[in-house]
Amino acid sequence: MNRGRILGLATALVFASGAALADGVKDVSTTYKVVDDTIPQSLTGKPGDPVKGRKIAINRKKGNCLACHQMPIPEQPFHGEISPDLSGVAERYTAAEIRMRIVDPKVLNEDTIMPSFYRNNGFHRVLKKFQGKTMLSAQEVEDVLAYLMTLKDE
């Protein structure tokens, strides 16, 4: 038994209420490193595409950021108002800080309503078709991040 397996087992025990991942499904939280509540390294090593990221932010089945956040996306009506306005977000946070917030915001605020967009373990009663899956792929996270980093004007 290697170290990674032992770590994985420990993770599974911590999230006792969540169903275990199926065989061969990797816990994505083992694929990146959290440093002081940030994720400094890209999840993919490939630059994000801000144009794709903007589309993912709008897409109700993907990021659906507009459900809760106001954003400088004027062609879309009805922006949510329950979470911070994301206009100028790149002025307030670094890429490493925003990456952490998209991947797993509960690291910063355990009571937040915000979903963890790049997590696939430790959930409770997930519908079968979403089991073991993340809400966004690693590259989609990088794309959304690249888009958010363009939001510099308040």
Binding site: P77, H79, I82, I113, S116, R119, F123, R125, V126, L127
Partner: protein, 258 residues
């Protein structure tokens, strides 16, 4: 922040019609409070309120003899407009012989199978929706007041735990939307407190009336969580918690909502 929002809500509330006051009890607010003027008008007019189709149909089921015992609801309960007043606003109730809670739908089916010797209704079937709506409608205007003391307590606590437990891939608990962010704007919708006093409710989105448990299942699926079966203990416990949370709100059945 929260305080400012409450004050804001109070100011908005001030400008609203007087009728809104009837739909709020201190901090507790019926979904009516946040409904559009068109939806409120539809609910308030018995002829425009499409939920009354089920009230009407429920009154016919009330007198319909079914089953081997040759009985109808009215054989035992007589005139529902008298006997059912102040009944549904106290459900779910703890049943000692069952060792758990029972809600209105389950009580109706118990009467059918045990006393009428008739077949149980399926949960979301037309006759079940009609009878539940009819029975709950008899308590319209009465305050929700469920008993959570004694043996009911542990079921209430289970419902409360459910309410606060994260679930699904979206990893949200009921409370994240309906407590922490009630009154907030989610895309084109207003998040309500998720009160249960108007159920069964005619939902414009459903184009028909639906049970509280149907709404639970919808919410669960929206956060990408496996729903429970209609009438599951988990949902009946949650129902008790929600009704207690809405103590004092008036029964609005059949309410109209988006």
């Amino acid at each position: 922040m929260k305080k400012a929002r409450l004050i804001g809500a109070a100011i908005v509330g001030f400008g609203m019609t007087l009728t809104a006051a009837a739909y709020a009890e201190d901090e507790v607010r019926s979904g009516y409070y946040w409904a559009t003027e068109e939806t409120k008008a539809m609910q308030d007019d018995d002829f425009a309120n499409p939920g009354f189709i089920w009230v009407e149909s429920g009154s016919e089921h009330w007198t319909k003899v079914e089953g081997d015992a040759g009985k109808a609801c009215q054989s035992c309960h007589e005139n529902a407009e008298k006997s059912m007043v102040g009944v549904a606003n106290k459900y779910p109730k703890y049943r000692e012989d069952m060792g758990k809670l029972q809600n209105v739908e389950q009580r109706i089916n118990e009467c059918r199978t045990k006393f009428m010797k008739a077949k149980a209704f399926k949960w979301e079937s037309e006759p079940m929706l009609a009878l539940t709506t009819y029975v709950r409608h008899q308590s319209k205007g009465l305050p929700v007041e469920v008993d959570i003391d004694g043996p009911a307590r542990k079921f209430y606590e289970a419902g409360k735990a459910f309410y606060n437990e994260r679930r699904g891939q979206l990893d949200m608990a009921c409370k994240h939307c309906h407590q922490d962010n009630a009154g907030g704007i989610l895309r084109a919708n207003v998040l309500t407190q998720g009160q249960s006093n108007g159920f069964p409710t005619y939902r414009l989105k459903w184009n028909k009336i639906g049970s509280l448990h149907r709404r639970f299942r919808g919410c669960n699926k929206q956060v990408r969580s496996k729903p429970f079966a209609y009438g599951a203990d988990e949902y009946v416990n949650l129902e008790l918690f929600l009704n207690h949370r809405g103590t004092g709100l008036k029964i609005e059945t059949p309410a109209v909502r988006n």
